[in-house]
Amino acid sequence: MNSPDHAAQVVGVHADDSAPAGAAGTTSVQRKGMAVTAQGYNFAYLDEQTKRMIRRAILKAVAIPGYQVPFGSREMPLPYGWGTGGIQVTAAIIGPDDILKVIDQGSDDTTNAVNIRRFFAATTGVATTERTTDASIIQTRHRIPETPLAEGQVLVYQVPIPEPLRWLEPSETETRRMHALEEYGLMHVKLYEDIAHYGHIATTYDYPVRVNGRYLMRPSPIPKFDNPKMDMNPALQLFGAGREKRIYAVPPYTQVESLDFEDHPFEIQTWDECCEFCGSKDSFLDEIVTDDAGGRMFVCSDSDYCGQRRAGQAHGGDAAAAQQSQQSPNVPGVPGVSDTPAAQPAETASS
């Protein structure tokens, strides 16, 4: 290992955990040698001292699930809002044998995801992948992959605003005291307001959670659809906020509970439709406008998940899925779904 730092091992970044599954015959991992690492930079851009500082913050965050640990956030060669918090966390834990996946809104192909993946490919030479099962580190903005994560994997979230109580309490001193004393009534005031004004809890993104029965946490702007995935997840979940200089964590197999009321229980989003491409009824769907006449269809937000399902169907997967596949328009370029709207209108939608 280039950086055989104890902390990196403790937080669970082991290259061995990320051996390609090879389930579908071919592996999409693109392995690059150390030779292509950009000249003039330390491995993963940050200097070793900075990485150690960030790892100490990560260790503290892991030790106190959901607690926001301040860290000395560094200037990164990307502006705030481009995931500098997540990038610093990834830079601190990544080793040469890691396999990195980067997603933005579920897709590997947005500008943001491509830039961050290129950044790490250039500064570390590590292999990158679009396959959730192959990745040892997944940096994400706004989604948790549909494919269940496994022990040994690390999910790194990019966080714009880490403080869940900030919406009503502008003072940092006061919010810290509220965390210390577990004074979390204010969060329910927000949910109360939702119900009073909309008849239901209208918060659909960045839905507040209680971690390990103690700290109130903002899960970053993922859809509440993804909240249940955080609960008792076998992977390590790390959260980095660059501008606000905070790191927090949910260790593997930690309880994560979405706040609610007894008479207005937490619910995830559901759709009447299923995915136009893979027929999934269980994944988070994006609505895509297909033509000027108001035609629209629903497709998986997680492009890797959708692609894997379609590949499985093409190889004669389960009958129901295969049937669905035949009905679906055949759109090439699976990962770039959002960039390639289908020519045909949505005829196979289930509703």
């Binding site: 577990e182 009534g185 204010l186 307001e193 009073a196």
Partner: protein
């Protein structure tokens, strides 16, 4: 000693609050000096004086908001008896302040969350102590709005759309929802028009006696003291110059300063 009974015999024995030789200095300057009194359950005490007399400093010391330089403030905790509030943990003191106490600010905007609905303002304390049933919070909130004579149909309206008198009633409901035993009030009617003041004072007096509420009311207005308080402290330059039953102090003031205050009211 610390029996759970709230009946009259205990009223006579253990005070709800014991203020003992409280002094608050700001460097060389005196905020208040050597103030002592007991307050019993259901008793309303007014602290009157001109601005700069130290009455607000004293209120903040008693209400756990400003640690005295010397002296103690003891509160009769349920099941524990008199305890020095400044020796409680911060968590304990804050819990006490939002359950067994209330604080009504002169300016309702200091005591309300102006960004959330009237109902959320009243329900906040319930949620803070763990009530997780929306419908029940709603019912309790409507009940308290009704008791402070607010139109319950305005439960989802923003407090900013309320008149000053309504905001003050909302602030009172927000405090009473946890059934506190002690309310602190800092010039509760001073921000209101004279016509509105009288109705609010009537409401406060009615609630205090109906609920058996003890209260400490800071005021510059002797008429407020006369209407609300059983007992009265007169402060000048940080010290209590006279104290006693409200009617006795106002009808037969002994200290020259009290005599001056009373005569200025009579001339007005």
């Amino acid at each position: 000693m610390a029996t759970a009974s709230t009946s009259a015999p205990e009223f006579a024995s253990a005070p709800l609050l014991r203020v003992n030789a409280v002094t608050r200095l700001y460097g060389e300057r005196t905020g208040c000096r050597d103030v002592s009194f007991d307050l019993h359950q259901g008793e309303v005490l007014a602290i009157a004086g001109e601005s700069g007399s130290g009455k607000t400093t004293l209120l903040n010391c008693i209400a756990g908001r400003s640690r005295p330089t010397a002296g103690t403030v003891e509160y009769n905790l349920r099941h524990e008896g008199l305890r020095d509030i400044y020796r409680l943990s911060e968590a304990r003191l804050r819990l006490l302040a939002r359950t067994d106490w209330g604080f009504v600010h002169q300016n309702p905007r200091d005591g309300l969350r102006i960004d959330v609905s009237a109902g959320a303002n009243v329900g906040e304390r319930l949620m803070a102590i763990g009530d997780r049933h929306y419908g029940r919070i709603r019912d309790t909130t409507e009940d308290w709005m009704h008791r402070v004579e607010l139109d319950t149909s305005r439960i989802d309206d923003a407090p900013a759309t309320f008149s000053g008198g309504m905001q003050q009633r909302l602030q009172i409901a927000r405090n009473l929802v946890t059934h506190p035993r002690l309310m602190f009030m800092d010039e509760p009617t001073a921000s209101l028009d004279v016509s509105v003041q009288a109705r609010l004072l009537d409401l406060l007096r009615g609630l205090a006696s109906e609920l058996g509420l003890a209260a400490i009311v800071v005021t510059h207005d002797l008429a407020v003291a006369r209407l609300l308080a059983h007992r009265l402290l007169i402060m000048k330059s940080g010290q209590v110059v006279e104290s006693g039953l409200t009617d006795q102090v106002l009808d037969d003031p002994q200290h020259p300063y009290t005599q001056l205050l009373v005569s200025s009211v009579l001339q007005a």
